[in-house]
Symmetry: C2
Subunit: 449 residues, 2 copies
Amino acid sequence: MTGTQEQLIAELIGFLRIPSVSTAPEHAGDVRRCAEHVRGMLAAVGLQNATLIEAKGRHPLVYADWLGAGADKPTVLFYGHYDVQPADGEWVTPAFEPAIRNGNIYARGAADDKGQVFLQIKAVERLMRRDGRLPVNVRFLIEGEEEVGGEHIEAFVASGDPRLQADAAIVCDTEMFAPGLPTLCVGLRGIVYGEIHVRSGETDLHSGVYGGAAPNAIMAACEIVVALKDRDGRIRIPGFTDGVIPPSAAERAAWDRLPFNEAEYLEKEVKSRALTGEPGYDVFERTWARPTLEVHGIRGGFTGEGAKTVIPCEAVVKISMRLVAGQTAAVATRQLAEAVQAACPKGVEAEFRAFHAAEPSLVRTDNVFIEKSAEAMREVFGKDTVYIRSGGSIPIVGLFEEHLRIPSVMMGFGLPDDNLHAPNEKFHLANLFHGIDAMARYLELLGND
Amino acid sequence: MTGTQEQLIAELIGFLRIPSVSTAPEHAGDVRRCAEHVRGMLAAVGLQNATLIEAKGRHPLVYADWLGAGADKPTVLFYGHYDVQPADGEWVTPAFEPAIRNGNIYARGAADDKGQVFLQIKAVERLMRRDGRLPVNVRFLIEGEEEVGGEHIEAFVASGDPRLQADAAIVCDTEMFAPGLPTLCVGLRGIVYGEIHVRSGETDLHSGVYGGAAPNAIMAACEIVVALKDRDGRIRIPGFTDGVIPPSAAERAAWDRLPFNEAEYLEKEVKSRALTGEPGYDVFERTWARPTLEVHGIRGGFTGEGAKTVIPCEAVVKISMRLVAGQTAAVATRQLAEAVQAACPKGVEAEFRAFHAAEPSLVRTDNVFIEKSAEAMREVFGKDTVYIRSGGSIPIVGLFEEHLRIPSVMMGFGLPDDNLHAPNEKFHLANLFHGIDAMARYLELLGND
């Protein structure tokens, strides 16, 4: 390891040591300390206007910019988050005492997302030190509530603040498809998450006395769920999949070239007896380009140890739909609400209540910001960049699209086994170093017009 | 109120004051104190061999007998329980400080079952005091674990102990169909209670990343439940209802004469929007003479506040079947287990595990013990005794049938609104006094052969 690399790691360790757990009120002070730390890093590399953007009762956003490249050069908006998940579970070394093992740095937030925010800043620093200037205009917007709903940044992005003016966002919060394989994520599924509230009566009843005459809220919940999605994995909500835009032939062909072994995926990732899902679609299409409906849990009745013979009078079903290009959260929400009503059995009332939603997004690969990112990564990693989608949802990408009308370039340097949201989260150090190289090269290519 | 009645109430209050909550380890001493209290009452009225029957780690049974009526007279076995449910919830007056209001005595255990055990003892006392002897041979077997599974009495009844020799059991642990209407319960549903364990993988998965490819244990649980019972309330377990013995035309005609208003039942008891159940059967048949399948709760996944996008890898369904004459617990258990296997979707393992079971029971109304009970109650209450069934399960009745080959006469003096297992449990004092009269008269009639 070079002296420069050792210095980088030492700096990253200082960032990772701050337990900026945004979900935990007792860490509110640490979250603020971490925001100040990010602001300090941004100012130290020569960015201007480094500041905390505050909102009452919320964790601060960190903003900085450098707009000296001129009006003929593009402006990019770097996005990332400095908050982290709680450090539950059993860790080999403590979550907030970063440790190096086998070429990885282990700590909560190492990959999600401090390591990736750090590489954005360090790429800017390298160019600034070498040239005294940057090839493009840059803004940074680093949030502290990504793991807790992101309400502050959502309001800010919708506010029309002039500091949001940009031509593209660079989002470093995703992963590479495989080690050493440069990857751009060009599509995300949206989501609608909520609860189905089922009520069959005023009170729980004795199943001996009333069994056979009284409706049962949990039975009704099961009937509704099964009416929404059949045993073969087909969603039965009327009109739900009508507008879905299928992947292009070129995108499908590109997926066929990805290194993927379905048996290994089943055995090592899904860890089940069989894959399921809609007939007629392969795994990539089912998880990236088709919508889903999943039940996350059913509350109600008796679930303790032993036996209690109760006919439950209410049930709450936690449920979500993932949405793809061609669908919108508003329409899907209405369709689900209507389907729940239609499926509700006799004697029972049921209602869908949405909690939150994010729109699906899909970026064209012939966009110049995507093309130059792919080229920069190909140069650094020595392999053609692959285009993938993610089945998950990154709400900020939809918000950038909706309010700023800009595409997001999702350059991610995490790896599939980085243990995000789990014990022993790590970040591969080679990806940190290559990530800085690729990001600096990307800014150069963007400035070369 | 007469002096005798005041004296009875004072004695009953002493019994009800003992918090003999069998489910709560901290009340173990109170349960034992209550057993001693029952033994004392039995000995005080002139019964012999009053003793506690012990088993390691179990609450004691209380036994006593008087066998002086001669071998040509029948022997009856009085059954009841001295343990009570916990006193959760909001009580107008404390659960273990009995209070008299509006002709009722309010206390935990007032109707279930101390008040009814008390009236058995007091009926014997009255005859003993008047005649110095009893018209029949009697045994008492009063348990302290009815609310907690009854394992001790189950083992004792199966033991072949000579103290169990009897011609019929008199069980006072049920209720009258309506106030003032003498009622004999001649049928009980059996029960099989257990859990369906569903497993779809080794770990919970992220619904964004794997939604569309991975099986979902709670969705699978819903599919299994709906396969077992359709939306119309028909149980779809192959062969399940094949052996069910329908009620006789006479029994059906008797039910038609019961005072019953379906709209009122829906509004005041079920408190739902509509009654449900198998088409083609009326409420009495659906709740007394048809089997049921009910889900009591589903454990697994995420059910807390807010959103968590998890594909649950396991689910546990609490489920029970109520069984009727012509069915057996063993066959029904096997049928359910097989139906669960058959309904289990792709990629998922599911298994039914039974916790406990009780056989259904049905007593013929032309049995002499039933006939004389009906006659005694008709004399005391001044109305014809009605025959009903109960949709619930009283395991001891099945055990008496199975091991002792004796019928149980279910003379119950509770009322439908006595709040069993709920706050403000009560026992109607007129039923206490009439119950003693009816029980004493019943023993006289049994001795008159």
